[in-house]
């Protein structure tokens, strides 16, 4: 067990000089080549006849000259400076870092998908349209909602799409209204998206369970309120048990209920947003449906809507004819329009559908069950060692704080960094904002018990160290390729590119 060792002794992979890898530009040496193209096979007419002198450049100054070997070495070494879900627990709360099955990657590389072109005629891409149609059917069933748009390429993009639909719907009925209500526990993209959709934000205070009181909501929902944007379960992992009553309050005032579906992993196959009175929801397919995060993207953020909002969906929609053929429908007079060129992150959608088929109804239900069990197991094991600011029952994640450690001047950031010495990626920290010094832990269903145990033991060891050797924790990490960074300097004198 790592905790019986000094982590410094325990955490070692073999290193091949990775920690000192220069920039690719610093590897450049005159005359090196990393590519070859077939010789030009058309007559080499004077370049001026091809493109006028004035529109040309002579060279891309300072671009690199490196060999294929240099590039392979460089990126292989860089990769070794990253942690990954394939190598261990990555318990970032709210991010649903789950196993990324490789069959998804294989299917996405099928030439018929990978080489299809977004501007092809419908009859040439019946396969793609069939796939998109099937994915919409599946998401409709998962959401319990009548239609889903697959255009949004991320959660935030889905939020914007959803709120734009709300705006258009309200405007159509005479008054687009002014405000979107957002709990203080919400993710930053919620207010940002609402603002870009043309609304002002009114923040709702959470109660001592971290949820929103009906009375608070009731008081806030005026004629000027367009919608409530709420995360279910919220960012503490607490399910809003009165969600249906909330929907009723909003609907009674002609307002809509938007659900941020980032936490769908906790109840997929157990309950359906549509059955809760939710009017709009986005799902981050790169969370709940296992498409790889790729160091920050790409993702996909399909949005499901209730009947009232169907007319406002982005165009085109994918439709199925009697004869089983598929087509793109552009004729939606009330559409908010197009959210992005082409058809969204198609090959992310391919991966997500591959995953949904691999799980099936029983598998998806098991996802939620084990995600919640794993999170509650961590909660139970760490409860005595870390302060639990909200002790309401939680689903797929648990949020602790650094309250027990601060007396020794050990803070959440220190705990996070020290975890690295034990070979773990830290949880999400300092979010949600309603918890001071939040440690937000989401293990997902794809973690084996022994990994959860090792993590808990590392956390417990750090709690102990915080009492006995606080300076050791405060100065962590000690075993990483680089140690704590001067982030202030990065922002004060920004160096955002290499220069010769």
């Amino acid at each position: 067990m790592t905790t019986t060792l000094e982590p410094e002794a325990a955490q070692k992979d073999v290193a091949q000089k990775s920690a000192t890898e220069p920039l690719i530009f610093e590897r450049s040496r005159r005359g090196r080549r990393g590519y070859q193209l077939p010789a030009l096979d058309v007559p080499e007419v004077s370049l001026d006849e091809v493109i006028p002198r004035a529109l040309r450049r002579d060279e891309i100054k300072d671009e690199v000259e490196v060999s294929e070997v240099d590039v392979m070495r460089h990126f292989t070494r860089l990769s070794k400076l990253n942690v990954s879900i394939d190598a261990g627990l990555y318990p970032l709360g709210s991010c649903t870092m789950k196993h990324n099955p490789r069959i998804n990657e294989e299917i996405a590389r099928t030439p018929g998908f990978a080489q299809s072109h977004p501007m092809q005629a419908e009859h040439q891409v019946q396969g793609n349209l069939e796939l998109l149609w099937n994915l919409e059917q599946t998401l409709k069933e998962i959401f319990g909602l009548p239609r889903v748009t697959l255009q949004p390429v991320a959660g935030a993009h889905g939020e914007l799409t959803g709120i734009l639909m709300v705006h258009k719907a309200l405007a159509k009925s005479g008054n687009a209204r002014k405000y979107i209500l957002i709990p203080d526990s919400a993710h930053g993209t919620n207010p940002a998206s609402a603002a870009f959709a043309g609304y002002e934000i009114r923040e709702l205070k959470s109660n001592n369970r971290g949820t929103v009181d009906l009375s608070t909501l009731e008081a806030a929902v005026t004629e000027d309120v367009a919608a409530l944007m709420i995360t279910v379960p919220n960012t503490l992992g607490v399910f809003e048990s009165e969600i249906k009553a909330m929907a009723d309050i909003l609907h009674a005032k002609g307002a809509y209920l938007y659900c941020d579906g980032a936490n769908l992993n906790s109840f997929v196959g157990i309950a359906r947003p549509g059955d809760m009175g939710i009017d709009v929801i986005h799902s981050n397919l790169h969370k709940t449906f296992s498409t790889p995060h790729g160091g920050g993207g790409p993702g996909a953020g399909p949005v499901g809507v209730s009947e009232a909002l169907v007319p406002f969906l982005p165009t085109p929609t994918v439709e199925r004819r009697e004869d089983g053929t598929f087509f793109l429908e552009f004729n939606h007079p009330d559409t908010i329009g197009r959210m992005r060129a082409f058809h969204g992150n198609f090959n992310v959608l391919v991966r997500a559908l591959t995953y949904m088929r691999s799980m099936g109804p029983t598998g998806l239900r098991r996802v939620a069950q084990l995600a919640v069990l794993n999170a509650n197991y961590i909660r139970a094991r760490l409860k005595g060692h870390y302060h639990l600011p909200y002790d309401a029952p939680t689903l797929h994640e648990v949020v602790f704080s650094d309250k027990n450690q601060t007396p020794k001047d050990v803070h959440t950031l220190d705990i996070a960094k020290r975890l690295m010495d034990y070979g773990f990626h830290p949880p999400t920290i300092y979010f949600p904002l309603i918890v001071s010094g939040a440690l937000m832990i989401e293990p997902t269903e794809t973690e084996p018990k022994e990994e959860l145990d090792a993590f808990c033991e590392a956390m417990i060891a750090i709690a102990r160290e915080s009492q006995e050797r606080p300076e050791l924790v405060r100065s962590a990490p000690h075993t990483t390729p680089v140690r704590r960074l001067d982030e202030a300097r990065a922002a004060r004198q920004p160096v955002l590119r290499w220069k010769k």
């Binding site: 590519y35 891309i60 060129a341």
Partner: protein
């Protein structure tokens, strides 16, 4: 209806490690006697009493059968010679890149919030940002945006933040139609007005109209090569636009290898689509949007930025920086709502740009331009073919025949040629035009074959 018992091994799933024994042991620690007990906060009346009505669970064998069957119902460049462009281009894809991209450490890591264990991703983004600056001739690039169309939206919104009070943005009609549609969607509730400026016989933006429209605008955006493949004259555009914020849109990013960079011609912002850097066309996504701006605009930049700094030992390191622009700090006042971006595709672009390098990027562009010029001459020689636009092109051109574009293209398809994109749906009066793209992948034989097939198609239509 009876639901599956989680502890029964026959219900174990390959993606979910914990099974019977694990679950029993964990329930005991948690102190409940069933998993269901953990879901009591979800009211019974919103709980499903059965299973979802969806297919599966499928084994990998069943999955391969179904998806390969579906993919086989597409006609693609895998079995046809394709001349499709219009914002998505088929270029050479070095074999190494996909194998590097699928390394777990790149593929399955998250946004580099914790720099000490994410230096690989961070340094790669810093390098990507540098490539963007070198290519565009501008100063500061971000870590990526969703795609070219949303990058243009972000550019318009950035420009709007720079000047108070002005509400008008001027967009060239010759910008990719999807991009224009997306901008309309994005700004619909922001009290902004779009003025579109048309194009002349050379296929370039109408400079007179541009000058007039720019007067009270906060920004002007042109695409070059534009949707017709024609290269705009950046200097002339800049002069006509005057001192509004000038946005250059580049949807064919290999053109940077040969075409003069907008940063050297008075443009403050360059946005575009990086798909051409060896990314599969994959029906439109995932791609990668880029944005590069003048130094002065950096604190208005949307999206993530990676900066250089040092660690406590003084060792050089990289970190996400200037975060106060972003939603997780600034929330409702952020420069953008973007969070997850297109990191892995930006990484692929970085690999492509590094591997091709200074010489390779130029040679790709040269081959594209030369082969396009070759095809252009071949087509000129066909009497019934018209090339409506006289302006200089990079690797794409508009072709006009006496017949409806769709009919001609259907004809070419029978010859296993994906001949181009009909313009009728986007530009009325251009029902006989279609857009043809050429890249370094096309052989002389294929270009000759295209010309021959086209004239054959025309004569067939004649009869």
């Amino acid at each position: 209806m009876s639901l599956p018992n989680p502890t029964d091994p026959s219900n174990s799933h390959r993606y979910i490690p914990n099974a019977g024994d694990d679950i029993r042991e964990m329930l005991e620690v948690v102190g409940v006697d069933s998993i269901d007990a953990l879901f009591e906060t979800i009211p019974a009346d919103v709980k499903l009493d059965g299973l979802l009505d969806i297919p599966g669970p499928w084994s990998e064998l069943e999955t391969r059968r179904w998806f390969r069957g579906v993919a086989a119902r597409n006609i693609t460049s895998a079995d046809h010679v394709s001349f499709l462009g219009g914002g998505a281009y088929s270029h050479y894809q070095p074999a190494m890149i996909d194998q590097l991209l699928t390394r777990s450490e790149f593929l399955t890591s998250y946004t580099p919030y914790q720099p000490e264990v994410s230096q690989g991703t961070l340094q790669a983004i810093f390098e990507y940002q540098t490539h963007q600056c070198l290519l565009t001739g501008l100063d500061v690039a971000n870590a990526s945006l969703y795609d070219g169309s949303t990058a243009l939206c972000e550019a318009v919104l950035l420009a709007e933040r720079l000047v108070k009070g002005k509400t008008k943005v001027v967009l060239a009609k010759s910008i990719h139609p999807h991009y224009l549609q997306t901008v309309r969607t994005y700004i619909q509730n922001l009290g902004l007005e779009i003025v579109e400026v048309g194009f002349g016989a050379d296929g370039r933006i109408d400079l007179e109209a541009l000058r007039a429209a720019s007067v009270d605008a906060f920004a002007v955006a042109v695409q070059s090569p534009n949707f017709f493949g024609v290269l705009e004259d950046y200097d002339a555009v800049a002069a006509a636009a005057g001192n509004v914020t000038k946005i250059a849109v580049v949807a064919e990013a290999t053109s940077f290898g040969l075409v003069t960079p907008p940063g050297e011609h008075g443009f403050e912002i360059c946005v575009g689509e990086g798909q051409a850097w060896g990314i599969p066309t994959q029906f439109g996504g995932p791609y990668v949007g880029f944005m590069v701006v003048r130094e002065a605009l950096k604190r208005h930049m949307p999206g993530r930025l990676v900066g250089e700094t040092v660690d406590v030992d003084g060792k050089r390191a990289y970190v996400l920086t200037l975060a106060t622009r972003e939603q997780h700090i600034r929330r409702g006042k952020a420069t953008s709502n973007i969070c997850t971006n297109q990191a892995l595709i930006a990484l692929a672009a970085n690999m492509y740009l590094s591997l091709m390098g200074k010489e390779g990027l130029r040679e790709v562009a040269l081959q594209c331009a030369r082969k396009t010029a070759y095809l252009r001459e071949k087509l000129r020689a066909i009497s019934a073919v018209e090339l409506p636009f006289s302006g200089p092109v990079y690797n794409e051109l508009v072709v006009r025949t006496p017949f409806a574009a769709e009919e001609i293209l259907a004809d070419l398809e029978r010859e296993k040629i994906l001949g181009g994109i009909p313009l009728g749906p986007y530009f009325e009066g251009q029902e006989r035009d279609f857009l043809v793209a050429v890249t370094e992948l096309h052989t002389k034989e294929q270009l000759d074959q295209f010309a021959a097939a086209l004239s054959a198609a025309i004569s067939r239509e004649r009869r």
